[in-house]
Subunit: 436 residues, 2 copies
């Protein structure tokens, strides 16, 4: 006999057991249905793209992490997000698409990061984006939070907060203080506020920024209260800067429409500290936190970008969108016992034979399936005890047992595996009980 | 301004327009639901695997077509089917799985073939397999055709034929004629029967095979009639060979159970000429043809294999399964005008404003979504004509128009885009009409 090769899944690649996979798929389908409820069209772009197309914009970390290889004469790469393929898609099929173009895509993306607990090299992203042709109404930015809201409600969450900000407010502020060049360093310091406290942030800022300007920044990041009072405080800052005022106007519009689109007050708030990286988003930005598990970080983020396709075309195509990193989210939820796959099962009922009533089993399975039930059948030559252990292991709620008597009397014995209750009844009654 | 990079999807990679994608996804979901109806568990193994794991068994054409590359110290490859990953999976997680292990997997696989019309380098396979631990009842082989039947019925087909054979019958026949070594050459000649006719097949065979043996082969391939008479003719051949008789017994069992599992007589038949390659399947084999489009080739194939995992473990794990090559099937069905994506739409209704009734539109959209409708909203500053062109283009059946009067009177104007009918009604009535 040959020496056997020990098979092993690569580190950093999520591979689930069946019951976990059932739960994962349920979440994925819930997200999909929610995206479709908002009229987003499905896309499924290739995982492999021309490396030069994919990397037109990329650089730095992305370029290092990318899976890139040659096949024949082709320089290929695996997509590392769903945004660049979208930019490619809207440029390539521009003439055949209808704008504003709304699409969702749920698919795997690839980043050769150092594998860590809960960080994957292959992972699902679930994206929606709205792309305008030339321009795109700010009201779209107000609809996005209701998509996040509907999605996380559908996933079974109640306590979460969608944090909304507008990058123009921050940019305008720094602009008015003539601190544009220091913006990223200042934001880095501000980001530490939860860890080191307001006084230390202030002291750190004073090292490189004039006192008066630090006062304004501190005043800005201390803005508190409900959404209306935050808006009021922003207005009262009296910042004489066009970009700032534009951002404030947009934020006001967005907040107004978030309410109209039906997001309850306790599920969203203005958060003036979120910035989401400095080089990509240009207006509205979103982050979403589970209130009881804030430590998980943002579970759904996104924002407005001025020009999706600038590396491919001169045509201006502004967009707004969000992304859920499903693989990571799933890992975190399971890891923190927020969800559990332990009792998941795909089948409504398992049909087994007492001894060798295989034909009767097959007939019963057919009838149950004709009634739209998910039915498994065990027709192996196994002891009944083994078959019941199998039923236990796959978490199936009902087992139908076919023995000599059942065949003779044209009935079935239906056992509820949770209550232990057992009834010998005709098949129509069994269907009714199982469907309840 | 930078020079723009012209984005281009790679040749051989299917990328659909949104309406085509809607139809494709519907088919994929139909297949998934059908597989779940038979109690198969979902799996989603990585697309990237360790090249040595993936290629433990492969060779020849497969090895040439595979996408293989290095990243850091890792020798990686993209899966070229879903069967090898299944073999890996059941070996790796053996202790955590329940046998017989039934799983389905629907996912993309990769083969760097020369791109041709309708042949893809990245394509979906939709597989179900039942894996036994040590042994697996032949009755499972009788259930598989009912999965094929249910799947293609659910896809909207009535006229298709599942062809069933058993490799042991062919092997036993050649065995008894002491022609094992010529088997593949003989099968190649037999395969040409549709093209060159029975007499030419006979003449070709006579070149290398004794007359008496050719007579038996010709008698065998001329076996005709319904399934029962085919079985009878096979029995009457009186082939004194254990493998042949085993194959015949298995085929009889399979045919018996195919009927019990509910496949109508006109949707399956014994076809003694199908063999499905010589090195993989060991017993039952299946091919499926659309009766009116036989030229498309088999749309769903599979069979029984003795030992899925022989390259990974000494443990014997026989299995039986089938696969649908969905990307190719979809292409063929569209290309032959058997299905059309022209009228596909994801949204139930589009909400547009006459002039600038954006808030009213948002409110109406929310109410419609609360009633579980898929709703798109157009809140761009566009002329109404442009919005209706958009509605036409996305094939949406209903448009709700909100103007000054509608807002004032707390009603909506609902337009049926197919009939042109237009009603000004309250929102509850609109929901009812749209849902009809």
């Amino acid at each position: 006999m040959n020496k056997k090769m020990q098979p092993k899944t690569l580190p950093g690649f999520m591979e689930l057991l069946p019951n976990e996979q059932i739960l994962f798929n349920k979440m994925r389908e819930t997200i999909q249905k929610s995206y479709e409820k908002y009229g987003f069209l499905p896309l499924d772009t290739p995982i492999i793209e021309d490396a030069n197309v994919l990397l037109a914009k990329a650089g730095g970390e992305t370029e290092k992490q990318i899976y890139r290889f040659e096949k024949g004469e082709n320089d290929l790469a695996l997509r590392f997000d769903l945004t660049v393929p979208l930019a490619k898609y809207v440029t390539e099929y521009y003439d055949k698409l209808n704008f504003p173009f709304k699409r969702y895509q749920i698919g795997k993306v690839y980043r050769g990061e150092k594998p860590q607990r809960g960080r994957y090299r292959e992972f699902y992203q679930c994206d929606v984006d709205i792309i305008g042709d030339g321009k795109l109404s700010i009201i779209n930015d107000g609809e996005i939070p209701s998509i996040i809201y509907n999605t996380f409600k559908s996933l079974g969450f109640d306590d979460f907060t969608i944090c909304i900000n507008n990058r123009k407010i921050l940019n305008g502020l720094f602009n008015s203080l003539e601190l544009e060049e220091d913006a990223s360093e200042i934001l880095r310091i501000i980001d530490k506020i939860d860890k080191i406290g307001i006084d230390n942030v202030k002291n750190e800022l004073l090292k490189s920024v004039e006192k008066e300007k630090v006062e304004t920044i501190i005043k800005f990041i201390c803005i508190d209260g409900d959404n209306d009072s935050k808006i009021k405080s922003l207005e009262e800052l009296n910042i004489d800067n066009e970009v700032f005022q534009e951002g404030l106007d947009e934020l006001k519009q967005v907040i107004k429409f978030v309410k109209i689109f039906g997001v309850p007050e306790n599920n969203f708030k203005i958060d003036l500290t979120i910035a989401r990286g400095l080089d990509y988003y240009t207006g509205t930005v979103y982050e979403t936190f589970l209130d009881k598990y804030r430590n998980l970080g943002s579970v759904c983020s996104g924002g407005r970008y001025d020009n999706l396709t600038e590396y491919y075309t001169d045509r201006k195509m502004p967009g707004v969108g969000i992304s859920i990193g499903l693989s990571r989210l799933f890992f975190q939820l399971v890891d923190n016992n927020i969800i559990s796959a332990e009792k998941e099962c795909i089948s409504d009922v398992l049909v087994v034979s007492m001894t060798d009533e295989y034909e009767a089993c097959a007939e019963v399975a057919r009838k149950l399936r004709d009634n739209n039930l998910n039915v498994q059948i065990n027709i192996e030559e196994q002891k009944l005890g083994k078959k019941f252990r199998y039923a236990d292991n796959i978490n199936v709620k009902y087992v139908i047992i076919m023995g000599e008597d059942e065949v003779k009397n044209n009935v079935v014995t239906l056992k509820n595996m949770i209550t232990g209750e057992q009834n010998t009844i005709n098949i129509e009654e069994a269907v009714k009980l199982i469907k309840e």
